[in-house]
């Protein structure tokens, strides 16, 4: 069935729209499953959920081209799914299995696949920003027409690595899109208490680069902005985007939400990016309600399949403990 292209700002094919929508659903459902596993004590350690923030991850990566690089954060499941990495080794990694992306050694905070342009989630707030900058340098030294998308949060914007990297990328004209997912809080510290600059995109002025602040819960706005930024960085150096968003869940697996109100959470839930995209697709008759339900069912089934794969995968063997500290 061929559908006409969606009328509106981004010129997106139906396939692309479906891909973006299902990746948001994958992210939500993957994380709901992970939250369930944690609540039942079925996995150990901790994890950081991006439920509520799916549009900034999926929308931004949808604007990249084949061969572009991406650096994720500790709240990185959406980044990984956005980059098109397989759900099965991703879920296997969460369960610590040998079939996981990191063979069970990384867990949620270190999922990476360099071969697919995924430079890694990162356990250190702001830790990935210099690494993404270095990937930009690598691309530039080889003279490639590739961009790097560097995700970080509002907490990272007050780290030295943010300042050092954006300045360096600016003076070297590196093709890096710096995308801050401002979900309004560090662990509990409000962005408004952590810096006296309300509009974080103003930070761009310090580096002589463009900076924009956008609605990070509107996947189309995110997509269009990153598309524009990508064109810019290939010719004129780095670009800063502040995507305003909100995490519905706690910082990590346990969080009593003492630092924010139920009203605030509920207000942001009104702006939940997934129903927003669904409404858009339905209202413009790009997909029927039945088609959208079918996409959702597929997302659920694929996550279940990933869970089954992970559950039945083998654990690492004891010898794996000492492998891969060094290359060669």
């Amino acid at each position: 069935m061929t559908k006409e292209k969606r009328a509106g700002k981004p010129d997106l094919s139906v396939d692309k729209l479906q891909d973006m929508y299902i990746k948001m659903l994958y992210t939500r459902k993957f994380e709901e499953k992970v939250a369930y596993f944690f609540s039942r004590g079925m996995v150990h350690g901790t994890t950081h959920l991006c439920i509520g923030q799916e549009a900034s991850a999926i929308g931004a990566i949808a604007a990249l081209e084949e061969g572009d690089w991406m650096a994720a954060t500790h709240r990185g499941h959406g980044h990984t799914i956005g980059k098109g990495l397989d759900l099965k080794p991703m879920m296997a990694e969460l369960l610590g299995k040998s079939t996981g992306f990191c063979r069970g050694k990384g867990g949620s905070m270190h999922i990476a696949d360099i071969t697919k342009g995924h430079l890694g989630a990162n356990g250190i707030v702001g830790g990935g920003i210099p690494i993404a900058t270095g990937a930009g340098l690598s691309v530039k030294l080889r003279g490639e027409e590739k961009a790097v998308l560097c995700f970080f949060g509002d907490g990272a914007i007050n780290q030295g690595t943010f300042h050092e990297s954006l300045n360096m990328a600016s003076v070297w004209n590196l093709p890096v899109i710096y995308l801050c997912e401002n979900n309004q809080y560090g662990m509990s510290m409000s962005q408004k208490r952590a810096t006296n600059v309300d509009d974080l995109s103003l930070r761009a002025h310090s580096y002589g680069i463009p900076g924009v602040r956008i609605d990070g819960n509107d996947i189309f706005t995110v997509y269009e902005t990153v598309k524009t930024a990508r064109e810019h960085v290939l010719k004129q150096g780095p670009y800063l985007i502040i995507a305003e968003t909100y995490r519905f869940m706690g910082h990590s697996k346990s969080d009593a939400n003492k630092y924010r109100t139920k009203d605030e959470i509920n207000q942001w839930k009104e702006k939940d990016p997934i129903p927003r995209m669904r409404r858009y697709l339905e209202e413009r008759k790009i997909f029927s309600a039945a088609e959208l339900d079918a996409i959702e069912q597929k997302a659920t089934a694929d996550i279940e399949e990933a869970v089954e794969y992970a559950r039945t995968s083998p654990d690492p063997v004891p010898e794996d403990l000492i492998n891969d500290v060094y290359a060669g």
Binding site: A112, I114, G127, I129, G134, S165, M168
Partner: protein
């Protein structure tokens, strides 16, 4: 044919230049390394040959320098990052110890990070507490890093070439007081493996394990005591501290029956403790005729006053006294 003699700094420059000619993916970045030639003149003339893209002056941003090196290394280049004084690595320690060192292991072996961080170390220049440290034990304590500290121009060149070709992050600690010292370095191509120590002087009464600028100092004392008292002292320079050529040390101690470790770094938590534990954990323990001794820097920051500075670390006098305590 008389053998060519060049300085330790020349040997380092030659190693970098040869590797940059050989492999276009190798590049060099750091503070003031371009037209200025580096704080110690190590890179004089390199920008003329390789240009400002591959001999890249950086802003004063150690975290971004080390992190960008890691990101560039993980994405297909071989960066050499110069940190102007090894003391400044602390500013970028997260990027070195938490990012570069761990990427391979925590990503399940799916990353290689072939980078070298070169930095001058050591006291004796009147630069006081923040420009004079010997921090090799810090880096040896981080799995995933290799740690090299050459004591001669010959070793500096061969080890640096091997470090640049190595697929792991290597911390290459140069000795400020050796930069102007000359030694024989052949014209031809050679490398020294990052796992092999070197017996700098053969002997049968006592093994002294030492590295960096302590090597020439210990050798002078050994010559003096050979002439004055007919003592036969073996001097073992591990050259690479991580991974350590433990067998070379063990075999030497089995031969001599006595051991001492001399290093400039402060005593408490210093690498001498590791080497002595290695000796005592091995069959060499049963050959010991005396307790193993360590002579190291005092547990103080390096002071400014020249006499205080000289006495904060081992001197020819304290080395001789400790040898006599063991052998008389």
């Amino acid at each position: 044919m008389s053998e060519r003699e060049i300085t330790y700094a020349d040997a380092i420059r030659e190693a970098m230049s040869e590797e940059m000619r050989r492999d276009p993916s190798v590049f060099f970045m750091g503070e003031d390394i371009g037209v200025y030639g580096g704080a110690f003149g190590v890179s004089v003339g390199m920008i003329e040959e390789f240009g400002p893209e591959r001999v890249r002056d950086t802003p004063i941003s150690e975290a971004a320098i080390i992190g960008a090196a890691a990101g560039a290394a993980a994405t297909g280049t071989r960066p050499i990052a110069e940190i102007q004084f090894s003391d400044f690595i602390g500013i970028g320690i997260d990027q070195l110890g938490n990012q570069a060192a761990k990427m391979r292991y925590m990503f399940g072996g799916h990353a290689t990070v072939p980078m070298v961080v070169r930095a001058p170390a050591g006291s004796g220049t009147g630069a006081a507490a923040q420009h004079s440290q010997s921090q090799e034990a810090w880096y040896c304590h981080i799995p995933g890093l290799k740690v090299v500290t050459p004591s001669t121009p010959y070793d500096a060149k061969g080890l640096l070439k091997a470090a640049i070709r190595d697929d792991n992050p290597v911390v290459f600690l140069e000795q400020k007081l050796l930069y102007r010292k000359k030694g024989p370095v052949p014209e031809g191509e050679y490398t020294i493996p990052l796992s092999k120590g070197d017996i700098k002087r053969e002997g049968k009464d006592l093994t002294i394990v030492t590295w960096g600028r302590m090597v020439p100092m210990v050798l002078d004392v050994a010559e003096k005591l050979a002439a004055e008292r007919n003592y036969s002292i073996e001097v073992v320079d591990p050259r690479t501290l991580m991974p350590l050529d433990a067998q070379l040390i063990i075999d030497s101690v089995i031969k001599t029956g006595r051991a001492m470790v001399v290093h400039e770094a402060v005593k408490t938590g210093g690498y001498a403790g590791e080497i002595i534990a290695t000796i005592c954990d091995s069959e060499a323990f049963f050959y010991l005729d005396a307790p193993v001794r360590r002579l190291a820097g005092l547990d103080v920051p390096i002071p400014y006053n020249p006499e205080l500075e000289r006495n904060a670390v081992p001197t020819p006098e304290t080395i001789e006294k400790n040898i006599l305590d063991l052998l008389d």
